[in-house]
């Protein structure tokens, strides 16, 4: 395994591509580094023949597993310059430039303890997936709940995995909210209260999603009496 500083651009090879939802594909990359913390992201840089470049940030979905590979979940955005390339052009074997892992604030490891409350909206679940996967392997004794808000079950990322984990892993629970399916429910005080009744007072909360989602969810966590210093946020989009 190479041991380049995380700020150096390196080539990663795409080793796997699979659809996850109608809008999201998963990409496994041989990234050449393994020492990342769940919640961190990588910067990806694409270069055209004439040297024109575009960069974007993507959260790592996988837990560190010693293989030097990382998994990204990339949502195709309408007219997305980089996400469009990943949706329509990228193939297994392609080489992509990236650097990372990046980010020190929105990251969790077992040394930070628990209980652990994860709150994700839409593709904001991706960095949380890395955390709960890592927890299952490295610290299953730490209680963890995921509140996951999506438009519909079909658009939920890794739903099968999450439901299996909720069934099989003692200490992990899933609160799935579908906003445009069935009765249609958004995150509210009752959902937060139910998760906290299950979990106890979390030592750490991580909230990730669109700007309005993160604003609403963090306000609910504060209203439930959680301390601001225990809440970490990351907002997608722009």
């Amino acid at each position: 395994m190479t041991d380049l500083p995380w700020t150096v651009w390196r080539e990663a090879v795409i080793t796997e591509i699979a659809p996850v939802t109608p809008r999201v594909k998963r990409f496994v990359l041989a990234a050449g580094f393994d020492g990342f913390r769940p919640g961190q992201h990588v910067d990806v840089r694409l270069t055209a023949e004439d040297g024109y470049q575009a960069q974007r940030s993507y959260s790592i979905a996988s837990a560190p597993d010693g293989t030097g590979t990382i998994e990204l979940m990339i949502e195709g955005l309408d007219g997305g310059e980089v996400s469009g390339f990943f949706q329509e052009v990228a193939e297994v074997g392609d080489r992509i430039e990236l650097r990372g892992p990046i980010g020190g604030s929105f990251a969790w490891g077992p040394e930070e303890g628990g209980p652990l409350l994860l709150v994700g909206g839409g593709s904001g679940v991706v960095p949380l997936l890395a955390m709960l996967r890592h927890r299952a392997r490295a610290a299953p004794e730490i209680p963890c709940r995921l509140i996951y808000s999506v438009r519909s079950r079909a658009e939920a990322i890794a739903l099968d995995e999450l439901e299996v984990r909720a069934r099989d892993e003692p200490g992990f629970g899933l609160h799935l909210l579908t906003t445009r399916e069935g009765a249609g429910r958004r995150i509210d005080g009752a959902v937060v209260a139910a998760a906290l009744a299950d979990l106890g007072i979390p030592a750490r909360c991580f909230v990730c999603g669109s700007n309005p989602f993160v604003g609403a969810a963090s306000a609910l966590l504060l209203a439930a009496g959680l301390r601001p210093a225990t809440i970490r946020t990351e907002r997608f989009g722009g």
Partner: protein, 201 residues
């Protein structure tokens, strides 16, 4: 290294000239921060200049509003790669803060401090001469809490993480001391035109 099959969607020439390397233009105003918005009561709001731990001068909200006003319009650049053109801000310039405090900058560096305990370091030379302000209006309106109101630092020629949200003061330091993101590998200076995102860039 060219990426197979990537052609890119180049912005018009006039846009490209205003975009630092690696940036893209957005019409939105994305929100990035490490935690929830702090709750700030204007009646209790203070803005304090310090040298180390020693307070030099503090202003209440009303006293701050009475200071000379400065306007700035132009482009801002976030390290997460979005840039936003033609933003309009109003507030109190760093020069006017020093003048009202009746001091010259006691050191060459400082840390901006936010109500959320965020910090970021900036050389004094990058704040003087009309280069920076403590802004209280965006687009003619009070800055929304999401965007760092009631007051945020504005240092528009550096990546926007230097423009600390919810700023509560500036602390002069003897040396260039790393702030929150700088301790986590972000560049000590952060010039978007030299693409100084991270240490070593």
């Amino acid at each position: 290294m060219a990426t197979r099959g990537f052609t890119g969607r180049r912005p018009p020439e006039a846009t490209r000239e205003r975009l630092p390397p690696g940036q893209y233009l957005t019409d939105d105003f994305p929100v990035l921060q490490i935690g929830p918005n702090p709750q700030i009561d204007l009646a209790a709001w203070r803005f304090t200049l310090r040298e180390g731990a020693r307070p030099i001068k503090a202003w209440s909200w009303d006293a701050f509003q009475a200071l000379p006003r400065t306007r700035w319009g132009g482009d801002i650049h976030c390290v997460t790669k979005w840039s936003k053109f033609d933003t309009a801000w109003e507030g109190v310039s760093f020069d006017d803060l020093l003048a009202d405090a009746g001091i010259a900058a006691p050191t060459d560096y400082l840390l901006a401090e936010g109500y959320d305990d965020y910090t970021t370091n900036v050389p004094v030379a990058d704040l003087t001469g009309g280069k920076a302000m403590v802004a209280t209006l965006y687009d003619g309106q009070p800055i929304p809490l999401d965007h760092g109101g009631p007051a945020r630092l504005l240092v528009p020629h550096l990546y926007f993480w230097k423009s600390a949200k919810w700023v509560k003061g500036l602390r002069f330091t003897a040396k260039d001391e790393a702030g929150f993101w700088e301790l986590r590998g972000y560049h000590m200076y952060g010039d978007p035109w030299r693409e100084q995102r991270f240490t070593g860039d």
